[in-house]
Symmetry: C5
Subunit: 402 residues, 5 copies
């Protein structure tokens, strides 16, 4: 493998890992912090523009190597359920899944933490998964997609979360077969606990009584709906920036607008194909039962709404940059006007007083500043200067500069 | 439920409600008001960028909970009509609808005010409505859409109104079955009174003699046409801003353009899918009678016209921002030119008078400012300065700066 | 009816009519005229952004009421023609059309001037026209469209003309049946005289020998081609503005660019659907004879060309605004450079002469400005100042500021 | 005919012809030339924005009138070829074509120079061409298109050339029948000589041995490929402008960017439909032999490449305008910084020296400028001023202004 | 041949070749280097905007002439493989391929270095390749495309690489027949060595055991994946520029943004059709085995991801230019504020001291500057000046300028 890039999953690691090219990471961060006024959002770590892990060009397809040191251990949980019973197990090896495969129940294998290539290879063997799909699980930073293989479907989606004001997108990989669903989430915490809770509740048997397609819906619905709190927060930030924008725009406002546009751009890049993916899934006849289709349609509707919110936020951010520039130009114009008024009034007056500061006074010549000897010379000059100033002020008022 | 957002319906409540996150609302409002000149539209409350109510990700679909205190009571009216008779009832509970369902007449159930989750659940039971549709009624801020279920159609649209110069979009939910139409409008006033009047008029039996599809057309037509007075007002504001723009652009003009662009953006986000929805409805063969289709086509034509007006207004607003920036730059240029002319003329003159203010005059040296002793020294210097000024003015005229 | 807006047809009325909301009309006009330099196009009345007449939301479809006082009388002309004969009549009432309907000839009914709702209602009765179409004739400001009813086609198009440098779009409504064509043009003059002339000419029997579809082609072709002189004039204005733009950009140039962009935007809004309409008409098999199709194709080609011209003009106008801003910035930069050069050269010199204007000269102290007593003091100081100025000029030349 | 516009073909006539509205032509040209610095491309005549000839709206279709005085004589050449023989003739009248039509050979009629309406009418009679097509030949400025008539195809394309740094687009009209091809090129020179040469060469019998479709390919390929040298030259100009842009942007750079954008815009307007036309031609089954299709595909590929080059050049030109504006703003900022530094350092110092130039020295009062009498007064003041200057310089260095 | 342009392949030649029009190449390069501060990326040679080689318009199709002197020798390598054996040969002439064609193995002919027209003609003869395809191999700068001929497919793609910070795109031409694949890469080095290595490895027999379609996949996958390291580097540069942008924007930042936008634009122009090409290839039923289709789908997914990265990078670069302009305007505003504050405070004070520097003091007149004789005159004036300064500072603080 040729070069490994920081992945989404890494961006949450607080201490600099043994990554190869993290130098400018700190640099960018410092840049945002070096601004003179204390930044509003100083703890922010911007998402990397390029966050895909890739093998060296020319590597054989299906190669499974992980150059990074695993930061969190791989942990495998299994939930096996029918409409009447729910079993939960924590597994030590993938081989332990085999007995559940032959049963007439639905099996949900949840793999959390850094994915161990060996575990992945075992999963491929036990569940007969395609090598290209396995490679995509390890090379995080994939675009959301659905691949239909002979006996299973492979789905890649991104779960957006906000952690300490930072947007984090985590690649979630799902394999769905006739009676199993494998979900690989490369971080330690498990966001899917609410769904497990719904399975456990005896009052809500609906989820447990349906097939793996409805379980997939439950997971996807959670992942899509995770976009709403994130966008809610973006909306609040945009409205806070709007205030700054018109009342006291400064370099920090600019940095914040840029930061927001950037995150919206990256979020959109990942969520746009997600909408397409759910649309394709919704129209897949082989996999979905008609009853589940209504629910996928609801999920699709949510993903469309998220995209529309994103687009309108992007439009707002672009508009705000235009407003910023206009606002700054307007302020420069006001500053200029003040300077021009002051300078234009006093420069001629200063010239006049300079004239009478010249040492031409020569008693022998009647042409040598005789004004200096006049009885009312000084008050006359002062009066003349008041007239000049008055005329200039009238002119400025006429041109609506004052 | 995880977090409740201010909804469309709340934005009309004047006093701060018991909402959880309205803090920046006031802040933004203050920002618009803090501008130095008295704002044109000081009473404006901008629409929230994010106005969707949502459950916590992972909540079971069809959950009906309302965290907000109901501000207005839920009130249910029923109109039952055939081509020959019209009956109106005010209902206390949803159960009272049941007798009308078995009749051979058309029944219009109108629910106004804050929707009580219990009432909604009862409606679901009596009319056999889908749980996902019921959830969407409560979680206002849905995008306009049409969902076809087995025996009913669910339609979400937004009714735009202008209240005290504020644009308000209210989600209207409609369920249409074979012989009933349920309309839920989450505010106290009832905008559909004109249609009820047409039903009551004995001279206009056309509406009463047709099916629920024609009643749906009447409601949708009212909702779509409500866009015309709103856009009429936007058009007037744009034209008023155009005047400001070129004659005396200022920070307030900028704030108003930004406000308009923002409202047009949000309005477009909600009305664009409405057009698609009416188009889909128009081509639905199972539901529409051919005779009604012509009327839906007219309604679609109006929604297209509204979208085109919106788009051209958005283009105008964008163009106006460009004009604003250019206009300000032009004014800065003029101010600069005046400053430069004044400074450039007087700075050299001030230097000259400074020279003759130096105390070098020394009777022992013939090199020590002998000009001071010349008979015509002072007039000569004044003449020289007039020449310099004249040359500079000629130069500025030549460069077309004056 | 709830609120009547100024229509296209009104914009040609010179004296303020008894309209309800024309106040800001004058205001905008004044704005354009208040600019300091005499405007190029002072007589211009900009087109209204919103120019649709509409009924109050909730009004029954097909309502025919006209709130405005009719300014010009409704006048009805009838041309009845076969391949061998042409008859022309001026009718007093619509009923007089009936005898022509049963004949085996083609009948062209031309209604000019403000449309009287009663005349319209009579037309509906005699020719069996749809109530929605009749409503659209009265509520001018429709978007161009074609509606196919059972036994007639309804077409709405806009005829663009330039009157006293103002762009005017007039809604023309056409009903085409098997052997009749009704054309309603809500102004006094009749732009279709050239076609009537072609019917009258005995040498050109082609038009008279064909069906109503070819007559429709002749009218549409005239309406589409009326765009060419309008665009020709826009092209000339754009080229004249280009000159201003680079040689002496000013506030008036800006106002003119804005005016042009606005008119192009509104023109495009109306002409774009016209293209679609002719395309639809061209592919309508029931109505068109194959022989006429070639001519409609030519008409479609012209409408495409007009749209492409419009789009390129819009691009030019947008580009010109960018150029304007850059040009003004460039000029500001030049002005600034001159100011900076002058100020930077003279400010240090003025400081130097100020130093020797200080009254420190004290014969008791050897430290108190002994330069003043030097024999060559004055020339030395002057020389020093020339050196400073020379150095600064060299520096500015080096930085390419001079 | 109502009004005749300058056409493409005219733009190459050097002396002002007897055209009716060429006044602003010279005006625009003068504008570009009036810029203070000698323009880079002084000989340039910009293409007219509107260059379509049209009849007065309402003129009968197929009217053939030419208002302009013919500048170059119409000249007709005929090449008749089979796979074994090539005959060339210069014809005096169109009637002379008739004998060739009945032969079993392919006939290529080439008409050069200003098209005489009589010649065109004769061509229509001899070859049975459609009147609308003939009208389009005369009314130059058509958009590229293909019209299929019963027994012939009519194709309009534009041949781009660069003449003395001016882009010229010449409308070329082609009629293709079963065994003839008519090409009308409204200028004196003949750009199709290379193809005639290939026909004459005995070694290259491929062209001569195929049908008129392959001859059409040869002509279209030449016309499309003529875009490459034009774009090559545009690319060179863009790269030359890039240099100016960053090193010494000025008003001339701006004028050149505007000129380039304008020409690219007009070129794109004409070449975009050309691509569509070749695509349609490529998929026309009735006309093309399968063997020729591969060649048309190649021609289509070239036209796509030209469009993509054009689009990227347009993007570059737009980007360059943004860079220009930013570059000018950056320069203004630098100029301002220099002015501010100089002014801010010297203004306080000038104030200080002004203080000691006051005539308050009064030996009777100990408060009247006693500093003037101090032994070290002058050096102390000078030292104080050095300190002030030093502090200010330190401050500017700290803010990174120096 | 009429005019030969610099090609992609030339742009790596360090010394100016005998090309005809490379003059402005150096010019542009110099422009980037002439900037006052040492450029970040001084070694950069920007890609030419126009890089297509073309024949003179009107040249016969299939003409194979190479005007440039070959810089690197043409070298031909052949790999012949079955699932069990691999043979490698270095060939002196194309004729040596013939024996391999009749075998039942797959043959991969790799041609590196400047393509000799004679070698190309021989390849055409031996493998029966189409003349138009051969012409496209020689005229580099083609857009990526796929052409299906009777018994072979011709594919043109571009391999992006970064060499010494310069983006280089090299046209790679591929011919695929039933049992052969010809790859022409017009440079000396061979980027396909990793694939040859995979063929040689006995452990990885998958590649060797499949048909030419899988070999094509391996080559295309390498070419597409070569985009990832390039984009990775672009991402790093963008993030480095972001730092500059907000902390210390300067002319060099601007030049770098422009450079990046330009390269992204050119890269996108070439890679966009590549995506379409792989999509077409993926859906070609005649050529692909179902087993290979999954791999092409993966390759397509990568090319889509590269396009999405490119688009988001372009958006970032555009956004950065807006930020740059706003940032510069903000800085100018700050500089202006400082100047205005300093000037506005000192200009009135300087006027005051100028007044008391006038020589009006005349003991004979009580109106002639009696202040000069007051006992506390000097301290009073100083105090007055402190008051003026204080008031002005208060005013600036009030307006938030300080």
């Amino acid at each position: 493998m040729y070069h490994v890039r920081r992945s989404d999953t890494e961006s949450i690691v607080k201490e600099p890992a043994t990554d190869m090219a993290p130098a400018h990471y700190g640099a960018t961060h410092r840049a945002w912090a070096m601004l003179e006024e204390p930044p509003l959002d100083s703890g922010r770590v911007p998402m990397a523009l390029f966050s895909k892990q890739y093998h060296s060009p020319g590597t054989a397809p299906g190669t499974l190597i992980n150059r990074r040191e695993p930061a969190t251990p791989t942990c495998i949980n299994l939930v096996d359920f029918t409409s009447s019973s729910v079993e939960e197990h924590r597994l030590d090896s993938v081989e332990q899944c085999r007995p559940f495969l032959s049963r007439d129940s639905r099996t949900w294998v949840q793999v959390n933490g850094d994915i161990d290539p060996d575990v992945l290879r075992d999963l491929g063997t036990v569940f007969n998964l395609h090598e290209l799909a396995l490679e995509d699980v390890l090379n995080t930073g994939q675009r959301p997609k659905m691949e239909v293989y002979d006996d299973h479907i492979f789905v890649v989606v991104h779960l957006p979360t906000c952690e300490a004001d930072n947007l984090v997108l985590t690649q979630t990989s799902l394999f769905i077969g006739k009676n199993y669903l494998i979900c690989l989430y490369p971080r330690a915490e498990d966001p899917f606990e609410p769904i497990r809770n719904r399975l456990r509740q005896t009052s809500q048997r609906r989820l447990a009584s349906r097939g793996t397609d409805f379980l997939l819906y439950a997971l996807l619905d959670l992942i899509v709906d995770a976009g709403f709190p994130v966008l809610d927060q973006f909306g609040d930030e945009l409205e806070a920036l709007e205030e700054d924008l018109l009342v006291h725009p400064n370099q920090q406002t600019l940095a914040s607008i840029h930061h927001l546009r950037r995150e919206l751009l990256l979020l959109r890049r990942e969520l746009w194909p997600q909408r397409e993916l759910i649309n394709t899934l919704m129209h897949d006849d082989r996999f979905l039962t008609p009853d589940s289709r209504v629910y996928f349609r609801d999920c699709h509707d949510h993903s469309v709404q998220i995209i529309e919110l994103l687009e309108s936020f992007r439009d707002m951010a672009t508009s705000m940059l235009d407003i910023y520039l206009s606002s700054i130009s307007q302020r420069t114009n006001e500053v200029m006007r003040v300077l021009t008024i002051i300078a234009t009034i006093f420069i001629p007056l200063t010239f006049v007083v300079g004239v009478y500061g010249m040492n031409f006074h020569n008693p022998n010549s009647p042409w040598a500043m005789p004004e200096l000897d006049w009885y009312y010379g000084y008050p006359l000059i002062l009066g003349g200067m008041v007239c000049i100033a008055g005329l200039l002020i009238w002119y400025f008022k006429h041109r609506k500069w004052m």
